[in-house]
Amino acid sequence: MDTVSFPWLPSAASTTAADVDALFNFILFAGLAFFLIVTAGVIAFVLRHRRRGKAGLTYGKDHSLALEITWTVIPVILIVIVFVWGFKGYMRMNVVPHGALEIKVTAQKWFWTFDHPDGANAVNELVVPVGKPVKLLMSSADVIHSFFVPNFRVKMDVLPNRYTVTWFEATAEGVYPLYCAEYCGKGHSEMLAAVRVVSDSSYQAWLNANSVMGAGLTLEQYGAQLYTTKACVTCHSLDGTAKDGPSFKGRFGTEILLSDGSRLLMDENYMRESILDPRAKMANGFQPVMPTFQGILKDRQIDALIAYIKSLNQK
């Protein structure tokens, strides 16, 4: 279903968006009319009643029941329409249809994890089938975040220690930006992800590929893939520049300085520990901002990442 929306709004790609846009446009045009009346009044009166010379005594009538009733009743009627319409739309957004595909969303500083029903998971990319209602069960691992997809007109806060729920049904295949809309600190504006809407068959294929964990790839190749899909890339560069975390370039097998002053050899066990319990031994000069990947990465994936990081030394 394709909808025409006002050029100010991003293209509409969910079943609830068209209604939101229609209401948006209704308020826009009613408001525009109101604004034009006020502006026209101001301009007309300034032009016609501009003071020339002495002010003198002016017109004394200071009320008019008919006028006052008109300009109260008309806005009230419009407001009631808008209120009821808005409430109905809101209920539609909040009542999840039966049989929706349920995906668990976890937000944390500063990335998103999406867990699909049969074990496949992805970071910063939500893959969903087109034309199917998708229910999102969301929670945060730290502070409040907010799940926002402009093209779907969907937004819902994501809280720690409590689940919030929202849903959408995408109407067109494509890739849509997903933002964090509740301020969450340093990485807030980089907490970007995407919703990739694909055909039902591609979705099944994606699920398979992701639950078989890199079958057909070497560990290194699989690790290289995970390096981007699991968002390591946000903080760890490959070219030697330090971002929020140390660069991986040429780091394996070197002796590194820890924040407590001690030194340690960067080996497989240290890497594994850093992935699962990043704050246990902090590299010197870095803030403890890395989240734990406990529960997000399976053993084979950790192996793959370690293999990949090791491989970076040989190049």
Partner: protein, 539 residues
């Protein structure tokens, strides 16, 4: 520099000490004005710095950490140190007693105390910068604010202290308005400015304690690890949002009602017209003040609150919207068959009418549940509240400053520069902020220090608008200060107004009036009483 009467409040008594220990509401008003304008300038500079960073999507001028500190400080300064005290404590202090024909406010010592508390609170808040700043946003949302290692306690403590100065001013005004009106000034003979300040004072006294308590709870949680809001300690972060907005929503009416109050005066005086719908304007201020306590939940439509709560809050939000709309119609109707003079204060009043209308109308989008879900926490919100606070309150404040400038200092500012600046400010403001409505509708989230390329053009335009705006303010500072030294001496009643403050000398004597005041005509009897404006003192 000075040409007014010998015993003017500016001259008598003399010396720094006589200012620091003054109980004169006019001097306290002037001291408040200086302080708030200073913070307005600081807040404005921080804003320009943010706009410099945002003028391109790249992460170039400041770091993310610094950007987050900038918008927190900008917001906190603008809200707690500038806009809340601006009209009531600075302009209101100066004109309220004069307008009701009184010699001073009811509690002059409390008045001075409120100024000192304001200064101390501001200094505490500013001290947070020395501790590395705060990065939570002026809203201090938990659990972010309980977990960040920035100087949250200091800044919230500053805001807590500032709250008392606001409460003191409110209390003082309520009693002053009840008890000190000149004989003959019944409630419905009061200027609308007084009604507006009265409604504001009620909110200041009733709502501010809630913010105080909330901030103290936040401080306790951080200092002693008591779990109130932080889920890690068994608290509830959404509870914090309820507490915070229970104050902060009424607080937006602490910001706008005094602006509306000034606009009523400006439109009546410069249209030389009896105000249309006096009672409707007066009662709608009170109505807004009362209902404003019941709409806080509209900040939380996407927080996961129940649908029923959302529906009620949406409904009540619209209910406060209506009186504001009615006021706009009343002001426009006042201009009908007036004798309109486009002096600088009137230009600001017209700017207010247009900008506040846009601010109010965009509020309808946000009060509408289904639409707010999309717009919440985007630049649409940023544009909306700047249209209301800057396009509304700040325009009214600027109008008021120019309007009462001759009374305060006994000097006229330069009208030509005043008008040029008003136009610059109007244009700059719209370029800076209208663009943000578009970005917000397209999905640009707020509090982002870098952003996707698709928003680059609009952000760049918005920054240019901010520079024009900043330039306008620069000119204003220059010609206002210049007028203190070189301005022409002002007449007693330069605009031909009928409210009582214009019967005092310019600048007023220490005791305001040299006789006991009695109401002789209503504040807007332009259909009955002949007044002439004679801007300058006749030589």
């Amino acid at each position: 520099m000075y040409t007014g009467p010998e015993n003017s409040y500016l001259k008598q008594p003399r010396g720094l000490k006589s200012w620091l220990l003054t109980l004169d509401h006019k001097r306290i008003g002037v001291m408040y004005l200086t302080a708030i304008m200073f913070f307005f300038l600081v807040g404005g500079l921080l804003a320009v710095l943010m706009r410099v960073e945002l003028s391109s999507p790249a992460r170039d001028v400041v770091s993310a950490e610094l950007y987050n500190r900038l918008f927190t400080l900008h917001g906190a300064i603008m809200i707690f140190m500038f806009i809340i005290p601006s009209i009531p404590a600075a302009i209101g202090n100066f004109v309220l007693p004069l307008m009701i024909g009184a010699k001073d406010v009811a509690f002059p010592r409390l008045n001075l105390a409120s100024w000192y508390i304001y200064v101390v609170g501001s200094l505490i808040a500013v001290a947070s910068i020395l501790q590395g700043g705060v990065d939570t946003g002026w809203t201090f949302y938990t659990p972010y604010s309980t977990s960040t290692n920035s100087a949250v306690i200091t800044l919230t403590f500053g805001a807590f202290v500032l709250g008392f100065s606001s409460i003191f001013t409110g209390l003082n005004f309520i009693v002053t308005i009840h008890k000190m009106r000149a004989p003959g000034m019944t409630w419905f003979k009061m200027p609308l400015m007084v009604w507006g300040l009265y409604a504001t004072a009620i909110i200041q006294v009733l709502a501010t304690p809630v913010l105080g308590i909330t901030l103290v709870l936040l401080i306790f949680e951080r200092l002693f690890g008591i779990g109130i809001f932080d889920p890690a300690m068994g608290g509830d972060p959404v509870l914090y949002q309820h507490f915070f907005w229970f104050y902060s929503h009424p607080a937006v009416y602490i910001m706008i009602l005094p602006g509306m109050a000034i606009i009523s005066e400006l439109i009546a005086t410069f249209s030389h017209k009896r105000i249309f719908g006096y009672k409707a304007i007066a009662f709608s201020s009170l109505g807004i003040a009362l209902v404003s306590f019941l709409v806080w939940g509209h900040h939380m439509f996407t927080s996961g609150q129940s649908e029923l709560a959302a529906m009620i809050f949406s409904f009540l939000t619209f209910l406060v919207g209506i009186p504001s709309g009615i006021k706009i119609f009343n002001w426009v109707a006042t201009m009908y068959r007036g004798s309109i003079s486009l002096k600088t204060p009137m230009l600001y009043a017209i700017a207010f009418l247009l900008l506040f209308t846009i601010g109010g109308l965009t509020g309808i989008f946000l009060g509408t549940l289904a639409v707010d879900v999309h717009l919440h926490d985007t630049y649409f919100i940023v544009a909306h509240f700047h249209y209301v606070m800057m396009g509304g309150t700040v325009m009214a404040l600027l109008g008021g400053i120019h309007y009462w400038w001759p009374k305060m200092w006994g000097k006229m500012y330069n009208e030509t520069w005043g008008r040029i600046t008003a136009v610059l400010v109007f244009v700059g403001f719209n370029v800076a902020f209208f663009t943000q409505f578009i970005m917000g509708s397209q999905g640009m989230p707020r509090r982002y220090y870098s952003y996707p390329d698709q928003f680059a053009f609009l952000h760049e335009v918005s920054s240019v608008g901010a520079y024009i705006l900043g330039f306008g303010f620069l000119i204003m500072v220059i010609y206002l200060i210049h007028s203190l030294y070189r301005g022409k001496p002002a007449a007693r009643n330069p605009w031909g107004a009928l409210t009582m403050e214009w019967e005092a000398a310019s600048p007023p004597t220490t005791h305001n009036f040299d006789k006991d005041m009695k109401l002789e005509h209503g504040p807007y009897d332009f259909d009955r009483v002949e007044v002439e404006d004679e801007e300058m003192v006749k030589a």
